[in-house]
């Protein structure tokens, strides 16, 4: 099941590559069908998902597991066997992300319908990208995780670099370099972990170094004398930091965020959607999947640090967003702000905060997709994104405005929409652990409200400038991409348990695991 | 008797029978001179002569070792091959220098600098 959902885009890619250059529609339809299948598969997974199972570090309670040896080398006993598994699995941590990815990928395909330039290359790279993302969310072997992680880089580079805006090269290489730095850090930490962890095979009884993330979570598996063995050692802190930087770049957290506005602004709309909707979640997901359970001691040690970074991101992102003239850049900075909430939430180390954080990841993915799509709608028609260039769109394009406003309000955290629930949970959880930091952070919400309302006022209210009199309202294709997301926003706002129930037990398990790190 | 003469001459020159050290010292001197030539000369031919000096110093070393230590005939063998290699290298080097002269009309290393970066 998971293999299918991961690799079906690769099949689609092969199909797209085999099609002759002229059959552009066939390529689009292939991509749409492939991602559609993914959505269906995600739906099936959602249906058959057992909410009670914890997952995280317990192989029995993981679901949809696919586990077999991929690469085994046992010729010479230098460091035991080399063991790389093909290990996919799903638990509460990843289920939401998988669903989100499937959904956003589909929406992305729909909104890339009007891509004209090199359609074949575009969809091939797009599908490759989706494989990478989906793979990261379900991989439970660190090696596999890393491979999927890096697979995303190149397609993203070209997608921004070829189909992007005027400054696309700069943005693309910046994105590439930032993430690659993180990748190298992760690679080194991964190697250090690999040589520190040895799993005793229950059948043969021999001790084998392993990339299996679940084995890494068990403190007993750390071998004597390994670089990362022990508890609260400097090397463990260094390793945690290296991993954190990698993930923080992806999230992005305050000092590592500078690639984001460039990449967002330059990327074509569907890619922005993918970038903000899914790619950013990879960072937070990685923290939860790798940093927290494998290095719980270091995680606790750096708790305040994370919370403070989260706080800075929230406020700094919001303030920056307020200062933007460019609609897309504004959303980009708002993403930083919202992802700050995620960091703050998961840094709380209690179930409430964690649930808030993970839910915020999902919600933000949907909200920000809506926002980027609405920018795209505007940009497609007006070919500008300047906030001051518009006005009175509510009169000119009322349906569009309605949908966009729902997204805006959700981003603002209006009760009844999904953003409110996750933010509330995050702040509640964080408040227990870091009182003052949370209090300061909450001011970020006010700033958010300020810039969003100001944006609404600048774009949708007021008089319609003459030159925009010709603008048409939404097309069918745009409806198809926007409406499902809007429905989700409202649905989760009203009935958040749909999502919370999925993740609750897993996150409780994770919290327990981390609390053990304090011992 | 003429051994006497040889001894007298060698006494006058070296004050002792030549021993391993003397050969090694000469070898080291030759080597240094060779390196010096390579580093300081700008004429290709001179540099190549420096290279020959280096090779010959190594040769002297190995022959001396083979005379004074238990290295026996292997040292001589190496010496022979080094001569051959040196000759082959010189042959190729001269051909290349010739070709280079045809292209650049100079054998001065400082003036040959079209490749840079």
């Amino acid at each position: 099941m998971l293999s299918w959902i991961v690799f079906i885009p690769i099949l689609g890619m092969a199909l797209v590559l085999l099609l002759p250059d002229s059959k552009r529609d066939a390529m689009r339809w292939t991509a749409a069908v492939v991602t559609g299948i993914q959505v269906v598969l995600a739906g099936i997974i959602y249906m058959s998902f057992d909410q009670a199972k914890t997952g995280i570090n317990n192989i029995e309670s993981l679901q949809f597991v696919e586990h077999f040896n991929w690469i085994t080398v046992d010729a010479v006993p230098w460091v035991g066997k080399v063991n790389i598994d093909y290990f996919l699995g799903l638990d509460g941590l990843s289920i939401l992300m998988v669903i989100l990815t499937a959904l956003i990928a589909f929406v992305g395909v729909i909104s890339s319908w009007n891509i004209k330039k090199m359609v074949k290359g575009y969809f091939a790279l797009y599908l490759l990208l989706i494989t990478g993302i989906m793979g990261v969310f379900v991989a439970l072997d660190f090696f596999l995780f890393f491979i999927f992680w890096e697979v995303m880089l190149l397609p993203m580079y070209f997608l921004i670099g070829i189909w992007g805006g005027p400054q696309r090269e700069y943005a693309a290489i910046k994105f590439f370099l930032y993430t690659f730095v993180g990748g190298i850090l992760m690679l080194l930490t991964m190697l250090a972990l690999y040589f520190s962890v040895a799993h005793t095979d229950p059948v043969t009884g021999e001790s084998v170094h392993t990339f299996n993330i679940l084995h890494m979570m068990n403190p007993e598996n750390f071998v004597d004398g390994g670089l990362l063995s022990g508890w609260d050692t400097t090397w463990r802190y260094v390793a945690w930091m290296a991993l954190f930087i990698n993930f923080a770049i992806k999230i992005p957290v305050f000092p590592f965020h500078t690639w984001l506005p460039d990449a967002h602004v330059q990327a074509p709309t569907p890619i922005s959607v993918i970038l903000a909707g899914v790619l950013l979640k990879l960072g937070a997901y990685g923290l939860l999947r790798i940093n927290f359970p494998i290095l719980p001691d270091a995680t606790l040690y750096f708790g305040y640090f994370m919370a403070i970074l989260g706080m800075i991101s929230i406020i700094y992102g919001a303030l920056c967003a307020m200062a933007q003239e460019d609609f897309k850049k504004l959303i980009a900075y708002s993403s930083i702000s919202h992802m700050g909430i995620v960091i703050l939430g998961i840094a709380a180390f209690n179930t409430q905060g964690m649930v808030g954080g993970v839910l915020q990841m999902f919600n933000h993915g949907i909200i920000t997709a809506v926002l980027f799509l609405s920018v795209g709608v505007l940009y497609d028609r007006a070919h500008t994104r300047g906030l001051n260039d518009f006005g009175g769109m509510a009169n000119q394009m009322p349906r569009y405005t309605g949908i966009a406003m729902i997204g805006m309000f959700a981003a603002m955290g209006l009760p009844g929409l999904n953003g409110f629930v996750s933010e509330l949970f995050s702040f509640l959880g964080a408040f227990e652990t870091y009182r003052w930091i949370t209090i300061i952070s909450v001011t970020g919400i006010i700033i958010t409200a300020a810039y969003i309302l100001w944006t609404i006022q600048r774009i949708y209210l007021g008089e319609v400038p003459d030159r925009w009199k010709e603008l048409k309202d939404l097309t069918l294709r745009e409806y198809i991409s926007l409406v499902p997301l809007i429905i989700l926003i409202i649905l989760l706002g009203i009935y958040p348990s749909l999502a919370i129930d999925l993740i609750n037990s897993s996150l409780s398990g994770l919290v327990e695991l981390i609390s053990a790190g304090g011992v | 008797m003429n051994n006497l003469l040889i001894t007298a001459i060698s006494n006058a020159v070296l004050l002792s029978e030549p021993a391993l050290e003397h050969f090694l010292i000469v070898g080291a001197l030759l080597f240094s001179l060779g390196v010096l030539a390579v580093l300081s000369r700008r004429n290709v031919i001179m540099v190549l002569m420096g290279v020959e000096l280096i090779l010959n110093s190594a040769n002297l070393n190995i022959i001396a070792f083979s005379r004074f230590t238990n290295l026996s005939v292997e040292g001589h063998m190496i010496g022979l091959f080094v001569i051959i290699i040196a000759a082959a290298e010189a042959a190729v080097a001269l051909a290349i220098v010739l070709n280079m002269y045809n292209r650049h009309k100079t054998v001065n290393l400082d003036e040959i600098n079209s490749l840079k970066g």
Binding site: - | M1, N2, L4, L5
Partner: protein, 344 residues
């Protein structure tokens, strides 16, 4: 020989010096004689008489007179010449040429230095001749000289290859680099029952080797028909153009010494050195010396003979003979001789 000398002469050092200077006497006398002989041979071949006045019988003292003349001639070093190299060249030339004599066994009792690497040494030191000729030529700073020098160098190095290959062919049979040993091997009178036991008769391919050897040494000592380096008609004596007086005399001397040296080498390698052609008859150190010099002189005579018989080759023909003809044949011949040795 040395012991005898030491017995006669009180000081061992002087005895040694005399010992090593003996070939010098031979070389000087030979040179004087050979120059005279060359003139006579030339004259007689051309149906003339040659020098007849100085001395008496057939003008035998002519060369001595020439030498005295040379001694009195002004020594000119051109302004443009590189003085040091210009002066060094004759020294090097003659010293190298003379030092090569040290390994030639003049008789069973006399060999200057019986080192085990005799032939190797000889071939090595004669390479200095090329160097010194080129040195003199370059130092003269004269176009003719340089051209002649370059030709000499090219010719000498080219023909050195067949020379050495034919020498090596002999050594395959002889199995020693010491010329004394090589000569001693040829003592006796057994080949085919009647021929002297000289190497040239021991192996049919050695005859070919000798032909190659002879052609090559004629070229090595740049004599007609291979005398391009100093071809007087085009190059005004080639590398010697700027030399005059005794310096030139030294060049001449060295050239004749070279000729003798190579002839003697040929006689050692192919004709039994100091061995008598008649087995035990007329053998012994003194007779040995006689036979040895005789054999050498015969070869020298043949060279002179050729000089006045054959025309000069062109430079391309000269090179073609060497590279296209002598060298391949000498290699094949070398292999065949080795094969013959293996089988018989």
């Amino acid at each position: 020989m040395l012991n005898t000398l030491e017995n006669i002469i009180p000081s061992p050092v002087i005895a040694l010096l005399i010992f090593v200077a003996l070939p010098l006497v031979l070389v000087s006398i030979y040179a004087l004689f050979a120059i005279w002989m060359e003139r006579k041979v030339a004259a007689h071949i051309q149906d003339r008489l040659g020098p007849m006045r100085v001395g008496g019988w057939h003008g035998w003292a002519q060369t001595i007179a020439d030498m005295l003349k040379l001694l009195q001639k002004e020594d000119i070093i051109p302004t443009n010449a590189s003085r040091f190299l210009f002066k060094l060249a004759p020294f090097l030339l003659f010293a190298a040429s003379y030092a090569a004599f040290s390994v030639i066994p003049f008789s069973s009792a006399y060999i200057g230095s019986s080192v085990d690497i005799g032939v190797f040494y000889l071939l090595a030191i004669t390479s200095l001749l090329t160097l010194s000729v080129l040195m003199g030529a370059w130092a003269s700073n004269n176009k003719w000289s340089l051209l002649g020098g370059m030709r000499t160098a090219a010719q000498m190095v080219s023909y050195e290859v067949p020379t050495i290959m034919s020498v090596l062919s002999v050594l395959v049979v002889a199995g020693s680099l010491n010329l004394m040993t090589v000569t001693e091997m040829q003592t006796g009178n057994t080949t085919l029952g009647f021929l002297p036991d000289w190497l040239i008769f021991q192996n049919p391919f050695l005859l070919i080797a000798f032909v190659i050897f002879f052609i090559s040494i004629v070229a090595e000592s740049h004599r007609v028909p291979f005398d391009l380096p100093e071809s007087e008609s085009e190059l005004v004596a080639g590398f010697q153009t700027e030399y005059s007086g005794m310096r030139w005399g030294i060049f001449m001397l060295a050239e004749y010494a070279d000729m003798l040296l190579l002839s003697l080498l040929g006689s050692v390698l192919f004709f039994g050195g100091w061995n008598s052609p008649f087995g035990e008859f007329m053998a012994g150190p003194i007779w040995g010396f006689f036979w040895f010099i005789l054999k050498g002189m015969v070869l020298v005579f043949v060279m002179m003979w050729m000089r006045w018989t054959l025309p000069r080759y062109r430079v391309d023909q000269l090179m073609q003979i060497c590279w296209g003809f002598l060298i391949p044949i000498s290699f094949v011949n070398f292999v065949l001789i080795a094969l013959w040795e293996m089988i018989f």
